[in-house]
Amino acid sequence: MDIYREELMDHFKNPRNYKKLPTPTKSVHESNPLCGDMIDLEVLVENGVIKDIGFSGAGCAISIASASILTEKVKGMRVKDAKKITKMEVAQSVNPDLTISRVKCATLSLSALHKALV
């Protein structure tokens, strides 16, 4: 079991879309009080499409890396499709070997995204 694969660590150490947007259409804050992880997520939606997305925050490697992977995936996606992404899919894309207790960490950014897209 090696949940900290190199590719994942690259997302943790050099997170993509780790930025503030100049003109977001929606900003949300989401936190996991149990471990102190928190994320600020911003989206720029135009004509039902996620034109840009950025996040910032503090948390464990799994939560940062998964936010990086998720934001990369949904940039340019239609809101309608992004809303359909499930926790399972995100956990799988981060690392299929995640143990149950760490799936929560991996899906914090997805909860934030779903909040931002309502």
Binding site: M1, D2, I3, Y4, M9, F12, K13, P33, L34, C35, G36, D37, G59, C60, A61, I62, T99, R102, C105
Partner: protein, 404 residues
């Protein structure tokens, strides 16, 4: 002292491999492992003696009752209570606090009264008091602690009705001077409730010399089964307490318009009790007595000295708790710069090292320390320097993988 290798071999689970590595179980503050004699005691109860207690006249029921009451006597002797009927079996520390807040609290706390807790408390020694205070329009006063976790807040002039304090902290390991707190509290006319969940497993506890009025602990943290715990209450106080839960087993006479309650301790043990748990706890206490509580404390001080010296050399690693190892139990909470405790715990797991990460049910304490979470390694009688070395190796590995 005792032979740690021999002790270790008494715990079947400790020979397990985790992720292909030897298990180093350093999560004892959450729950301890169980020796074969405890597992056997539970097994023996169900195989040979199982029956409901108190109500039967047949042989098995009498045997089960005798075993249950023998466990109560063992607990009383273990913490030096004067009478076995001062021992109430609960499902753990949490239920014991709830019992006191409900039964003693609802009768004795009035509008405007003060209930004192401390900043270091586990959530289970905060919430029942918080709810009681809200319900009664009473004040919940929080006594402050110093950097090392010792209570500094004074009770003088506060005139609280009760002071709820933990004997040992599950995060800082701090052992409070309960005797002093009891003296001060009694001068103020207050009773003292002590949460001993982290003390009884690790040191000799004598409720008479502590002079506390209530003392609670959990079996599962002291080699015994989950689902059994203890509430000690001074007899004079217990006799005047109302029942907590009501139903069968705790009554004398029942009519449709009234009932009279059983004497102590039965009055506080409604329903079928956890007999196998109590029997298992009795076996756990026998085991601890054979090793000797003083020896266990000494063993843990040795591990503390060894691991604190090494951990404090790791750059960016900060340990918490008293510097005087004689005034703390065998656990170490720490943070590692740039590495989240959950990541550290996950990497350690790949090395077979079990530690805990998070706020350990002490959010107010973590807020005070201004950290969202800590990693915690907690020792017990079967841990060795090799376990500490595995922890240190795992920390190095985490740094290799996760340092940005």
């Amino acid at each position: 002292m005792f032979d740690v290798a021999k002790v270790k071999s008494d715990f079947p689970i400790l020979s397990r491999e985790i992720n292909g590595k030897k298990l180093s179980y350093l999560d004892n503050a959450a729950t301890s492992q169980k020796p074969q004699v405890v597992i056997d005691a539970i097994n023996n109860f169900y195989k040979n003696h199982n029956a409901n207690v108190h109500r039967g006249v047949h042989t098995l029921s009498e045997e089960a009752t005798a075993m249950y009451e023998e466990a109560r006597e063992k607990v009383a002797r273990f913490i030096n209570a004067r009478h076995p009927e001062e021992i109430i079996f609960t499902k753990g520390t949490t239920e014991a606090v709830n019992l006191v807040a409900y039964s003693w609290g609802r009768k004795n706390i009035k509008k405007g009264d003060t209930i004192a807790v401390t900043e270091i408390e586990h959530h289970s020694n905060i919430i029942p008091w918080q709810i009681l205070a809200k319900e009664k329009n009473a004040n919940l006063k929080v006594l402050s602690i110093d950097e090392e976790g010792f209570v500094t807040g004074s009770l003088q002039g506060l005139k609280p009705k009760i002071v709820a304090v933990s004997h040992a902290s599950n995060v800082l390991g701090t052992i409070q001077e309960i005797k002093d707190i009891s003296r001060e509290a009694h001068l103020e006319g207050a009773l003292v409730f002590v949460d001993g969940a982290q003390a009884v497993p690790h040191m000799k506890v004598d409720v008479l010399s502590l002079d506390c009025d209530f003392y609670a602990f959990s079996g599962h943290k002291m080699l015994s089964p989950m689902g059994i715990g203890v509430l000690y209450v001074k007899k004079e106080i217990l006799e005047n307490m109302e029942p907590y839960q009501v139903g069968g087993g705790m009554i004398k006479e029942v009519f449709f318009d009234r009932a009279t309650y059983a004497d102590i301790p039965g009055r506080f043990e409604a329903g079928t009790p956890n007999v196998s748990g109590a029997v298992g706890l009795g076996a756990g206490i026998d085991y601890l007595n054979r090793i000797g509580m003083e020896n266990i404390s000494e063993h843990e001080v040795g591990l503390l000295n060894y691991s604190l010296a090494k951990l404090n050399l790791v750059p960016g690693l900060k340990t918490y708790g008293p510097t005087d190892v004689k005034r703390r139990t065998g656990l170490i909470a720490f943070t590692l710069e740039g590495i989240h405790p959950h990541d550290l715990a996950s990497v350690l797991d790949t090395e077979g090292v079990a530690i805990r990460s998070g706020h350990h049910c002490t959010m107010p304490l973590h807020n005070k320390l201004k950290i969202p979470a800590t990693a915690r390694a907690s020792f017990y009688l079967y841990n060795t320097k090799e376990d500490v070395d595995a922890l240190l190796y795992g920390i190095e590995k985490a740094e290799r993988i996760l340092k940005r």
